[in-house]
Every structure is written in structure tokens, then in C-alpha cells.
Symmetry: C3
């Protein structure tokens, strides 16, 4: 006899993302596109380019996981229902009289609701990616982590901006994993280990717990207007476990670092064991720059 | 009993592109490569790089459609006959004594003939792409349009120039769909709807009519030295139907546009209903820049 | 009855690359990553990015050949043993106390041994690529050359630096094929023709001879501190055979070259027949810049 908690988690895991959660995801993605400089005017001037950008934001995770698994990246275009839904939301958002959608979206409760529902879809995407990768490579847990991460994240939008010339990758950007990237990677690892029976928890319970976690942190970040939830304590512990018992910068390394021109990153690294707090301080400084 | 017109169209649709139309297509593509600055000297200095560029121009559409359908992009290299033909044309064009090929190509009738025949291959590529995509996604009409457009167009050459550092994508370039891109998209849409039985016209008749259209417009553009045939009346009507009943720039949008720094595109958008002529004027101005 | 030579070559061709030759290959690749400016500090700051870069260097050839044959590029992640080995070498190299690995690698005999063993793996990769391509396209010799070249080379690391913003492709870089690229292409051509029965030599003998050649040239280059072994005599002969009987710059070409702005390449090309020595001189000058 399942507990009420178990039944709730099971019912939750069987919820379909279509249509309401998908609508929220498309809305948040399209609003992100609309907020880019010049996007509204671009939609009038070249609607096809604007529509394509919006589709890339809405379906980017799936496209990337298709590329990584050598499936046709255009596969998402065959799902006419979702394409129609996303296109309608793009059309309404960009071309609504008096820009009603943007005005409605500017209210915080609306943003909280939409973002919360979008975070729910993140869980579904990660789980879908992990399961899909397992069908290709049974017990290939590294592949499963990678595909879950790809499906839940938003890397492909950077590529799209690179192609359009709006983005020049700096060394620093590649280094600083954004909060969504970190939380998606965490989820991907967790669900992979659950799938390979290394975590003694049922999938629906894990989905429920993980979703509550990411929705709660997202809403907290939006209400307190913090740009990122810091994983610093967790990262520092992990760093200490993996690297902390070593001294990274002995004298010969300092010499070689002095020779090779640092790109602005090298000079800030420090001995992890005795100056772990310095690491946290320097990370916070770099994030606040 | 078919009419003579019908028999003509049927015979036309059964024409093989090999070898004469393919030769014309390869010749036009290789001459386009040769006209790039420094290309002739590059061929002497690094023939492999020059040959690779020429192959990319000759087979670019097929490569792109392979990438989009997760087929091996090197598939074109397995067709030894066409590769040999294209390579011979590259070799002769770049290394002919006294540069005879370029001199011969500088005469307008030769260019008209070659370009006209190349336009015929465009039709065959679009139809091939649409049919091929249909074998993957039965009735996936969006995929069919995309693959037909990819096969008939020349997007991959931009990518090749990007990799070589000769091209930095500006926001504007992505916006302005070139005339070949527009006409290929139009053909792709038409043939997709014919394939899905939405247009009551037989395939061979449509191929015949579309080919006459694109060959005639191409030759007209070359003889009158117009850089592009304007679709403006058609585009304006479509814009009016889709967007015209709205007012794009209400006061709140103007405020948000004033805040977000425009990238040079936004400032030129205008209300479509009452200033459609301004749109046409501004498009012409931008094209003439 | 096979000769002792034949038995030696056969035994050599049956040697497994795992684990010692693979370790050498991973070590050389990871040390190449470590020598990039700021890499050591990056490993402390963002280990995932550093690990990913190292994996790209270790498995880049396989990833590229997967992309070209529409196989999942993440396939290498399913081979847990090799991933574990490469990751261990990355970990030990970057995080060893007192940087012992880098110190040990700074001794020339160690570098010679590791680089020599890495060159042996190059042969195995080329042969593997050629055989694999043949399974896709029977007798598709151009595809076989391309896949053999991709597997043995290091093109994908340029792409990785492009994405990170550390590399802006100049026209010149694309022109100058590096020595590893040239020697890999040569090997790929040779093994393809052996596979298609155009060379009357057994595979194990060819593998033995080619490996001796590339190991010997690599060690010679490293001990004499020459940056590249010149193929100039061979290239000049080939140029003369293919292009030498022509005069590349007749008067009309000179006029067209004068019109089109040269990108710095064109002005250095010269008539190959009577100034072949000038070509060699100019190449050496350009390499020494």
C-alpha cells in the first residue's frame, strides 16, 4: 500500500507536459528572445529569422541531443502539434495588439508561475534524455549524463548567437558555468545514477524531489533578485575531496605560470587547502564583476 | 491522350541532369570560387584547400541536407563520377593555359547559358530534397520544406568562409535573405504542397513552370544587371495579411525600443499598414548600401 | 614460410595499442593541453572544462570521423576503459603533487619515447579509419582517404579553440597544412590504395614501414629541433607534374590579380616551372615568419 506521498509523486511523474507546461516553457523562451535588443523590430523586418530563433530557444535542448546522438536535428519539425503551439506563442507574443503579452509578462506573479512551470519541464527533459541515451548505450552512464545535460540546458542558443555575430566567445564565459547549466548537470548525474540502480530511490520520487528543489530555488532567486544560487559550499567540499590534499602551486609551477601569459584566470587560483575561503571570496568577486 | 504541352513537361521532368546541366552547375560554382580575391593564387599555393572549397560550392546543398537528416556528410564523395567531373572542371578552370576558361566565361551569352542551366538543376535539387525528406518523415511538410530549401540553396558556403576567417557574420547579413534563398524557399514550399496533394497540379507540370520562372527571372536579372528581383509586392501583401491588422509600435513598445540599444535594424522598422511604401523604399535603400 | 622480417611485421601489426601506446598518446595530448597559457589554473578553476578539452585532444580524431560518417560523436564516451585511462592521465598530470609529471616530461628521452609511441598510434588510427570507411562505402576510396585523414589528425582541436574564442582563423593558417596533417594525409592515401589492391604490398608490411618512417622523422625533428620536415622536393615534383607545364600568370591573370585585393597570399605565388626554387625559398620564408 503506497503512502499518500508515494501516490502524489507517482501521479506527478505521470503528468503530461503538454499543453500547459509546454506553453509555459515556450512563453519563457520566446520572452527571452523578445528581450534581446532589436528583436521586436527584427520580427517585423524578417519574421522567418525571428521565428527560427524562437524555435531554437524552444527546442534547443532536443536539437543538441539529436546532434550528439547522430539523429536528424530536424526531427523536432516533424512534431507538428508542438511546432504549431510554439509558433502560435511566438506570433502572439511578437504581434499582439498593444503588446499585451509583454505587458502581462511584466508582472512578477506571472513570471514566477511561468518560470516555475518551465523548471518542471527541465526535469522531464533530463529524464527523457537519460532514458533515450540508455536505449543507445546500455549502461553507458557518461553518455547518459551528457545527453541529459544537453536536453535540459540551453547551449545551442549560444551557438545561434555565434552564427549571427552577436556573440564572441571569451575565455571567461566558457569557464563560468551558468546556474542553469550547473543545476541541469546535477540533475543529469542524479537521474543517471538512479537509472543504473546506484541510487536507492524510485524514479518518480526522485523526479518529485528534484523538481521541488529546482522550482523552489528558481522562485527564491527571482523573488530575492539574486542572479545565481551559489553552489560554493558544495563545490568547495568536492574540490577539497578531489584536489585539496595537494598543493597546486609549488615553486616550479609558479615559475611556469610566470612564463606563460595568463588570460586573467591563472592569477586568481590559489592553494585550496589553507585558503579555501580565499577561493570562495575570489569566485564571488569574479561573479560580481 | 496527353496534350503536347503535357508531353513536353513530362519529357522535361525526365531529363537527366548528368552531364550537361551538372557541368553548367559546376562551372558556375567554380567560377564563383575563382572570382573571390586571391583564389587563383591560392589554387597554386594550396591546391587541396582550393579543391575543397570548390567541392563545397558544387555539392554544398547536398552536404547540408545530409547534416540535417543525420546522413554522412561525406556521402557526396562516394559518387565518383560527379566528383571526377567537378574536379576536372575545377582543374581546367584554375589551371588552363592562358586562362581560357575565364576568358570564355566573361562573354555574356556563355554566362547566360550556364546560369540558366544551373537554375534548372535548382529545380531538380529542390524536388529531390522534398522527396527524400518525405521518405524520412511521411507528410512531415515542415521538414520537407526545410530539406528542399537546404538542397537548393548555398548556405554552407557562408559556413566555409566563416571557418576560414573570411566572413564575420553581421546581424544584417542574416536578415537579408538573398534572392536565391527566397526563390529556393518559394520553390520548396510549392513542391512540398504539391507532394502532399495540396496543390492540384502534377509534378512534371509544376517542375516545368517553376523552372521557366526561375530561368526567366535569372536571365532578366543578368541582362538588365539588376542585383535582385524584388518580391516586395508579394511580401507586402503577405505582411499585410499576417501582421497588417495590428499596430506594431504602440507607445509601450516605443518605450521598450528606446531603452534597448538597437543594432541598427530596429530603427528602420515601420508601421506596415499605412507605410508599406516606406518599407519598400527602406528595403531598396538597404540593398543599395 | 615467412621470412623473419615478415613475422616481425605481422607481430607488430597485431600489437594492441592498449594500454601502453594509448597511455603515451594520452600523455602527449594532455601535456599539449597543459602547455597552453593558463591551462593549469583553468584546471583548478573549472575542472570540467579542462577535462573536456583534454578528452577532445585525446579522442578528437575519432569524434571527427564519427561526425563525418553520421555516427554519434559521443560514441567515445561509451568506451569506459579508455575514458577512465585518459581521465586518470589528465588528473595525474594536472594535479600531481609538486607537478611531478610535467617535470618528468621535461626530459628529452621521455618526450622522445612518448612521441614515438604516439606516432605508432597514428598508424593504427589511419588503418582503422580506412577500414571503417570501407565498411560504409565499399571501394569509396575518396571517403576512405578522408576518414583515415580525419582519424589520424588533430583538426577538431582547432574547432574547440574557435568555440572558446582562443583562435581566430586567418586565411594563412588554413593554407599551411601542418606537418602532422601532411604526413597523416600521405598515410591515408597509401593505406587506401593498399586496401583497394592498388599497391602490391601486404597491410602488415605497409604498417611496419609507415610506422618506422613517421617515428624516425618525428624523433629526428625533435632531436634536431626542426619545426617541420620539409616535403618540398616531393611537393615540387608533384606540382611540376600536375601544373608545371602551364604558365599560371599570363597577362590577363596578372590584370585580374591586380584588380582583386590580394589577401597576402597571391603576391607570393610564382611560375612553378622556372622558379621552383623560388617557391621553396618563399615557403621557407613564410614558415619562418
Amino acid at each position: 500500500m503506497d503512502s499518500p506521498w508515494d501516490e502524489l509523486a507517482l501521479a506527478f511523474s505521470r503528468t503530461s507536459m503538454f499543453p500547459f507546461f509546454d506553453i509555459a516553457h515556450y512563453l519563457v523562451s520566446v520572452m527571452a528572445v523578445k528581450r534581446q535588443p532589436g528583436a521586436a523590430a527584427l520580427a517585423w523586418k524578417n519574421p522567418i529569422s525571428s521565428w527560427f530563433t524562437a524555435m531554437l530557444h524552444c527546442f534547443g535542448g532536443g536539437i543538441l541531443s539529436c546532434l550528439l546522438l547522430a539523429e536528424p536535428p530536424l526531427k523536432f519539425l516533424a512534431n507538428h502539434t508542438n511546432i504549431l503551439l510554439a509558433s502560435s506563442i511566438w506570433y502572439i507574443t511578437f504581434f499582439c495588439p498593444h503588446d499585451l503579452v509583454s505587458q502581462g509578462y511584466s508582472y512578477l506573479p506571472v513570471q514566477l508561475l511561468a518560470s516555475g512551470m518551465k523548471e518542471v519541464t527541465r526535469t522531464w527533459k533530463i529524464v527523457g534524455g537519460v532514458t533515450h541515451a540508455n536505449s543507445y548505450y546500455k549502461n553507458g552512464w557518461i553518455v547518459m549524463i551528457a545527453i541529459g545535460w544537453a536536453r535540459g540546458g540551453t547551449i545551442i542558443t549560444n551557438f545561434e548567437r555565434l552564427v549571427k555575430g552577436d556573440w564572441k566567445p571569451e575565455g571567461d564565459e566558457w569557464l563560468k558555468m551558468s546556474y542553469p547549466a550547473k543545476v541541469t548537470l546535477l540533475g543529469s548525474v542524479i537521474f543517471t545514477f538512479q537509472h543504473t540502480q546506484h541510487l536507492a530511490i524510485s524514479k518518480h520520487n526522485l523526479m518529485f524531489l528534484y523538481t521541488i528543489f529546482i522550482v523552489a530555488t528558481k522562485i527564491t532567486m527571482m523573488t530575492t533578485q539574486t542572479s545565481t544560487m551559489t553552489f560554493a559550499p558544495f563545490e568547495d567540499t568536492l574540490s577539497w575531496m578531489l584536489f585539496g590534499w595537494q598543493q597546486p602551486f609549488s615553486s616550479c609551477e609558479k615559475k611556469s605560470e610566470a612564463k606563460s601569459p595568463s588570460n586573467g584566470v591563472g592569477s586568481l587560483a590559489s592553494k585550496p587547502v589553507d585558503v579555501a575561503s580565499d577561493n570562495v571570496k575570489k569566485k564571488h568577486t569574479k561573479k560580481n564583476e
